[in-house]
Subunit: 296 residues, 2 copies
Amino acid sequence: MELQQLRYVVAVAETLNFTRAAERCRVVQSALSHQIAALERELGARLFERTSRRVRLTPAGEAFLPAARQCLEAADRARAEVAAAGGEIRGRLAVGAIPTVAAVDLPVLLRDYRRRHPRVRITLTSAGSQDLIERVRRGGVDVAFLGLPPRTEPKGVRSLRLGGGELVAVVAPDYHLAEREVELRSLADEPFIDFRAGTAGRAQSDEAFAVAGVRREVPFEVSSADFMVDLVRQGLGVGMLPAAYAPRFPDLRVIRLRGAPARVEHLVWDNRPSSATRAFLELVGAGHAGGVSPPE
Amino acid sequence: MELQQLRYVVAVAETLNFTRAAERCRVVQSALSHQIAALERELGARLFERTSRRVRLTPAGEAFLPAARQCLEAADRARAEVAAAGGEIRGRLAVGAIPTVAAVDLPVLLRDYRRRHPRVRITLTSAGSQDLIERVRRGGVDVAFLGLPPRTEPKGVRSLRLGGGELVAVVAPDYHLAEREVELRSLADEPFIDFRAGTAGRAQSDEAFAVAGVRREVPFEVSSADFMVDLVRQGLGVGMLPAAYAPRFPDLRVIRLRGAPARVEHLVWDNRPSSATRAFLELVGAGHAGGVSPPE
DNA sequence: TTCAACCATCATAAATTGCGATCGATCGCG
DNA sequence: CGCGATCGATCGCAATTTATGATGGTTGAA
């Protein structure tokens, strides 16, 4: 088994087409066919099922692919680590974040990071917290900013608790509430627009009301902050967002809440951070944090 | 960069000798030298510092090596996954355990596992809990049984809480205590032999006495259960061990303790378990457990 | 039926990898 | 100080591997 063969396999798996995979690898199709056939012979199993009109992964191919990708990633990392040892950090940095990150200014952070390490290719992905944790575990994302239900810690990854901003209520400009700051409990009778039940953002709002001893109605559940804002604009009810995030919607009115808890966010990363990832953690200030348990 | 080159680099790094590395790889020394030189040329950095009497890793080599090993492991895993997809699980299973595992019968477990998956090469390593967690994180160990201080969870790995046995006191046959069962507090004046401060085993004993509201003396601190037993045999004091573990020393007297908490152990594993590891987790009953946090 | 897309195969050329012999440097030892 | 032993680098050559370009067979659509 050689890395070249793995590169070919991954290319075919992604294009599902030997000819285009060969183009991408800059070899003729026959060379690629030959290499894949040789690998299949060595493994004793077909990785691709070729009917002459389509190419598909066999179960064996499905099983092979994740480890093959990890192998290629490790090879890239090895190369990047050597460059890092020579002083210059290279490689990739895949950052994930929920759409409502409030604890850090992500654009500024990425700009600073890029300034310091211009040879690192940065990607930014938006997704839900649970999805992000899974991707960090799988290695598709290197670091992620996300929210979690109160008093929980993500499992299977290293993490650092970030102080987030407070939650504030947002309403349409002509909404009937006129105050700029209210007790949380005084909102009890308003209709709320919040994240769907089960999400970390929703759990944090619920927590705030539970602590205040108030039951509230949430007739509208949404899957993203943008949807929430859309509904709030229509005057359908009150939304709750991190204070640092609300100013992005200047057409909405912000109502500060007395008794709202600070929103807690977490920075999570993989167990085996690359040098590019380590540099990012250092920049964020998580260089040597991460809550190691005491020894046996 | 090719896997063959990585194999050569790892061999040289482990033997610190080109000639012996070449023997291990079953090629002549010149071939290996040539490949390594080619890789160094491609990377633009020397991986080894050769003085004509010794070979050492350069900083670049140190940086390169971990990722290179992970790359080779991933390649092995890819091969093993294909075999697993064909029905038969192969590969390696590196099990780690503290010396005093009480929650499971490890020999029986390994025997059952071997019976079911005879093509998996099993290794068993003994170490401290914190060391084991680190090795699981690094990928050197696939699954580990270990202890943790009360009410903590290991970070950076998947884990399952195992119900452990109770702790019992063990004493020399002629020790002055005659009872077969006592209140924990009645041992307060005895000299204890226990694990060194900071270990999980020690923390669990301390916890038991703290709960009983008793201060005790621990004049002897040891690093393994075997040392503890050695000192107990000499009549130097009282030891505390998991009940399931004590019968291994039939020459000692066991004193059951009223008020001793159950010892808690954890099974931990990596985020990206191989098929061999998955099969082991299933056997232990952790197939789909592991405390996933709720979604965002 | 014809055509176009697509992968396998084959002969051949190019590149890589390995072999064996040898060189030069270094260290220990007498 | 000189000898022998150890060890990695180097070189020419052979074996193997990998890539090329042309061709053929299969399949689905027009």
